[in-house]
């Protein structure tokens, strides 16, 4: 496998960012990490994951869709779409990499979301295999192997070097573009690292979390469960879980009157919000119980029902860490499992 020694990683970043935008996870002062556009000298974060997921690159929180201009009493529609420039996201974890597959099922299915597609086509996802999973990780429950991530290119580290493995043509092209900086490497040490990580994965507190009792066929059983009342009781109805979630894909479309024209934009929405699904007649989901149930039913039942059994969760653990009241999908799954 081609590799680069760890001390040369930044020169690789310099080379990549000279040709296209490069985003890497960077530590913030407060200890957490976020993706930033690479500038020379930036250190890649050693954190397991960023607070916000990598979905932002393809599905940003707000996005201008179109403009309307009023000319006297006439309205002109202006398409604001521009061809997206090529960019690379480096250091995406296996969970976030899987989330793109899930988002693709939503946005690239007919009718194709051209805004999403535009970004997806121009983005190269370089993933990074995990070596130090956290107690909140449960990606294995969704058949994700964090030691061998998906993405266009997978990168592995044995501590000394970074190894590059292409997962598809786009990945191969990326490796080709940097081939002159890479050298052949011995992957023996790497295998050892991978097997160590797999052992740790089995020791994780959530290692035994099972999805067996979920899926499309469990609809009525779970929908009518009496446990929702108790589970949703503590939910404060904020959108933290949805906004840090790599797979949540709901959005709202709004018109903003700037005073000299209308900007139509979309922005993330959260099924936890009281005005989600509010329509002219009112709102079919009026209580936090219904909204709370919706979020988890969607991830664990409705989504697999429509997508060949694939769940709408990748086990990244962000919602476990960030929920203000520590109510999360794991607690929901465990509660619903109990008979």
């Amino acid at each position: 496998m081609l590799k680069i020694s760890a001390d040369k990683l930044n020169s690789l970043f310099d080379a990549v960012s000279a040709k296209q935008s490069l985003y890497i996870p960077v530590d913030r002062e407060s200890g957490s990490a976020e993706y930033r556009k690479y500038k020379s000298g930036m250190e890649m974060s050693k954190c397991l994951n960023t607070v916000r997921s990598a979905k932002d690159f393809f599905f940003p929180q707000t996005e201008n869709l179109a403009d309307f201009k009023m000319n006297g009493k006439n309205i002109e529609v202006i398409d604001v779409r521009e061809e997206c420039e090529d960019f690379v996201i480096f250091g995406v974890r296996a969970c976030d990499a899987r989330s793109f597959t899930i988002l693709d099922k939503v946005f690239l299915a007919e009718p194709v979301d051209s805004y999403y597609k535009n970004r997806r086509e121009h983005g190269t996802v370089v993933t990074m295999a995990c070596t130090r999973p956290a107690e909140t990780c449960f990606c294995t429950a969704f058949d994700i192997d964090p030691t061998s991530p998906e993405g266009d290119v997978a990168v592995f580290s044995d501590g000394e070097s970074y190894f590059f493995k292409p997962n598809n043509d786009k990945g191969q092209a990326f490796i080709d573009s940097i081939a002159d900086m890479l050298e052949d490497g011995d992957t023996a040490e790497l295998a050892q690292v991978q097997s160590n990580t797999r052992k740790i994965m089995q020791m994780l507190p959530l290692a035994n979390l099972s999805t067996d009792s979920f899926g499309g066929e469990k609809l009525m059983e779970h929908f009518n469960s009496e446990k929702w009342a108790n589970l949703s009781e503590s939910c404060i109805g904020c959108g933290t879980c949805t906004f840090v979630c790599p797979t949540c894909q709901c959005y709202d479309i709004r018109d903003f009157d700037t005073g000299n024209g209308i900007k139509r934009f979309r922005c993330w929405d959260s099924c936890m919000y009281s005005d989600f699904t509010k329509m002219a007649h009112g709102n079919p989901r009026n209580t936090q119980l219904e909204r709370f149930r919706q979020r988890f039913m969607h991830k664990l039942v409705y989504f697999p029902a429509n997508n060949n059994g694939e769940f709408g969760c990748v086990g990244c653990g962000r919602c476990l860490a960030k929920c203000p009241v520590s109510m999360n999908i794991v607690k929901v799954m465990k509660a619903l499992e109990e008979k």
Binding site: G72, K73, D257, G259, N260, G282, N283, N286, T287
Partner: protein, 663 residues
């Protein structure tokens, strides 16, 4: 879809000279919703108004924008014009392009640009205007006067004269107030009782006036035109309807050592008493703190001698509830007690008296039958010192920061009366300033000095020391001769400050009216609305609003009556429709709005609501009484959820104006 008409006025050349009115009309014609945009020489003229009216009719307009002078000039004119052709008057907006544009700018280009922007803001606002209808609220044709002094009596008589029923609530057993205690009045020196008591009788006999003596207001609900007031009639243990006022009980009552309030405690009365001979109602009252029967169940003399059978030891407080359209506050004043001023020896020297005490000492119905004698040894005083500004104009917690206004004049009166009746008496008046603004006031004061030879000394008394020989050493400064004086006096009279009655503050709370830091009621406007409180339907009469002499009090009493009559004449009150209203679905009942409402227009109700989850819930929500709300909008900002909004100046309307201006 809105159909808005824009009308740009030239105002002769007032506007047209600096604003290109044609350009304004042209520019505004392109605004959304505008279907007609015209300019005219004088829009406020009859033909100009006709232009607007015809345009409304012909184009079926839903909103009108007039670009003209200040809305303070002609808003009403154009609203009336719109209303005359069936357009709700509140769908008219004015863009002020004269006072706030053409008159202040010289450059035609920038003035025109600004006029267009102001016009656009008005168009943006009128898009969001809603038809408003002035609500009506019925007026109960009855007035309540709180306080039965000269102010209350005068107000009640004037209102009754106009044919409306009036109730007087007086906390003492008789009406009459402070004036009844006064001997003579300045500057005419006529007898106070001679001019007051006929008015008291007139009030008692007037078919429109009901007097609730020995009563207090305990609760006020409601709002202008429709107050509900609870009055407590305190038990007087005498049936008012039976008592003939013969006074036999007061003669026979064995308990004769009760300090007589009417004579300022300078003599005694009986436990069952009639405050004074001309009391109205002339009904006896039993003082439960002294009556032997009520205290220990042994006596019953009054009951035995009363041929009318009016004595009722079992009587209890009674509460009566009555509706009123208007309330007049006439709670009056009291002189302060100067006992905190050790240097004046008031609390331990009986010959140091207050001016009101002197009134009683000199009064024919007073403790000495009208002969001025020293309280201590009943001898005739030969040297009397008057001390001015006792407790007035003070910067400390003992006194009052204000001038009590009446002391200079009544002291001149006292000095003059004493000099006239007892020419052998030397009278000294120590003053800081002599304040005599008033008709014939300064002349009166000068007469005291020039004709009656009263010694006016500029300076203050520093110490009053009673001496062993019964004389009083008065140590004072004479600032003009720059020396310290010692006067060997027989009596010292303190012109004490006056303060609002103690009942005023709790009453103000009940009435939701405002008070200043001295507990005087605050008038709605110090110049233009001096007899109205800021709370609609509550009027102020007499010294409860500030220190006043009798003529001023009577003048204000009649003014308050006129205002009350003006209200009572109406069958209903047209309310300002630009008032606040609360969206009950949004209100969370936190009470922030209520706390900032200067009018007490906001109340809370527990209301049942159908909740989104199809259950019903009882929620506490605010509601605004449109008859009371004056439309300031303080509540709209206090409300964090935006449940409160203001008609005519709604959040969305103001934001639309902001947007249009910043565009």
């Amino acid at each position: 879809m809105q159909r808005i008409g824009v009308f740009v006025c030239h105002c002769g050349t007032n506007i047209a000279a600096t604003v290109d009115v044609k350009a304004v009309a042209e520019a505004l014609s392109h605004e959304p919703g505008v279907v007609i945009s015209q300019d005219y020489q004088y829009m406020c003229s009859e033909s100009g108004q006709d232009l607007v009216k015809n345009a409304i009719k012909e184009n079926n307009l839903t909103g009108v924008v007039i670009c003209s002078c200040s809305p303070r000039m002609h808003e009403n004119t154009f609203r009336k014009a719109a209303a005359s052709v069936g357009l709700n008057p509140y769908l008219v907006e004015i863009a002020n392009i004269r006072e706030q544009c053409s008159w202040i700018h010289k450059d035609i280009a920038s003035a025109t640009e600004k006029a267009i922007i102001l016009g656009k803001a008005a168009v943006a606002k009128v898009h969001l205007n809603t038809p408003l209808t002035a609500g009506e609220s019925p007026v109960v044709k009855r007035a309540l006067v709180i306080g039965g002094g000269i102010a209350g009596i005068q107000t009640a008589l004037d209102i009754a004269e106009a044919g409306f029923d009036v109730d007087i609530v007086e906390k003492e057993p008789t009406i009459g107030g402070k004036m009844a205690q006064i001997d003579k009045t300045f500057p005419t020196l006529d007898c106070a009782a001679c001019i007051l008591t006929p008015k008291m009788v007139e009030a008692a006999q007037n078919e429109h006036i009901t007097i609730h003596s020995f009563s207090e207001v305990t609760d006020v609900k409601g709002f202008v035109g429709n107050f509900t007031v609870t009055v407590k009639k305190k038990a007087r243990f005498v049936d008012e309807t039976k008592c003939t006022g013969c006074g036999l009980c007061t003669e026979k009552c064995p308990m004769k050592k009760v300090p007589n309030e009417f004579n300022m405690g300078l003599d005694n009365r009986t436990a069952v008493y009639i405050p004074f001979a001309q009391a109205v109602p002339k009904v006896a009252t039993i003082d439960p703190n002294y009556c032997l029967m009520l205290k220990n169940g042994k006596c019953g003399v009054c009951s035995k001698v009363c041929s009318a059978g009016a004595i009722d030891y079992k009587q209890t407080d009674k509460f009566i509830e009555q509706k009123y359209g208007a309330i007049v506050v006439a709670t009056g004043f009291n002189p302060i007690k100067p006992d905190k001023y050790d240097e004046f020896a008031y609390s331990y020297c009986p010959d140091v008296v207050t001016s009101l005490e002197l009134e009683r000492l000199m009064n024919a119905a007073g403790p000495n039958g009208g002969t001025l004698l020293r309280p201590s040894d009943k001898t005739h005083p030969h040297t009397i010192v008057f001390v001015q500004c006792v407790g007035s104009r003070c910067d400390d917690e003992k006194g009052k920061p204000y001038c009590s206004k009446i002391c200079c004049m009544y002291t001149a009166k006292h000095a003059m009366l004493i000099r006239e009746k007892y020419p052998d008496t030397e009278v000294y008046v120590f003053y800081i300033d002599v304040r005599t603004p008033g008709k014939n006031f300064d002349e009166f004061y000068r007469r005291a000095v020039e004709q009656y030879n009263v010694h006016y000394i500029k300076g203050m008394v520093g110490k009053v020391s009673p001496k062993a020989d019964g004389k009083i050493d008065v140590q004072a400064s004479d600032l003009l001769s720059n020396e310290q004086l010692h006067i060997n006096a027989d009596m010292v009279v303190l012109a004490t400050a006056i303060e609002p009655d103690k009942t005023a503050r709790p009453l103000a709370t009940m009435l939701t009216t405002q008070m200043d830091t001295n507990d005087f009621f605050t008038e709605a406007h110090p110049k233009l609305r001096p007899v109205e409180s800021a709370t609609a339907g509550i009027f102020l009469s007499g010294a409860c609003q500030g220190p006043k002499d009798i003529p001023e009090t009577v003048a204000q009493a009649s003014a308050a009556a006129a205002k009350a009559i003006g209200l009572l004449c109406k069958n209903s009150i047209t309310c300002n429709p630009c008032v606040a209203h609360s969206d009950e679905l949004m209100c969370n009942g936190c009470s922030s709005c209520e706390k900032v409402c200067p009018y007490g227009a906001i109340t809370y109700q527990d209301k049942e609501f159908r909740m989104p989850d199809r259950t019903t819930a009882i929620r506490r929500v605010a509601s605004v009484n449109p008859a009371v709300c004056q439309g300031c909008g303080a509540c709209t900002v206090a409300c964090p959820s935006g449940a409160m909004d203001l008609n005519g100046f709604s959040n969305s309307q103001i934001m639309a104006e902001v947007d249009a201006i910043c565009k």
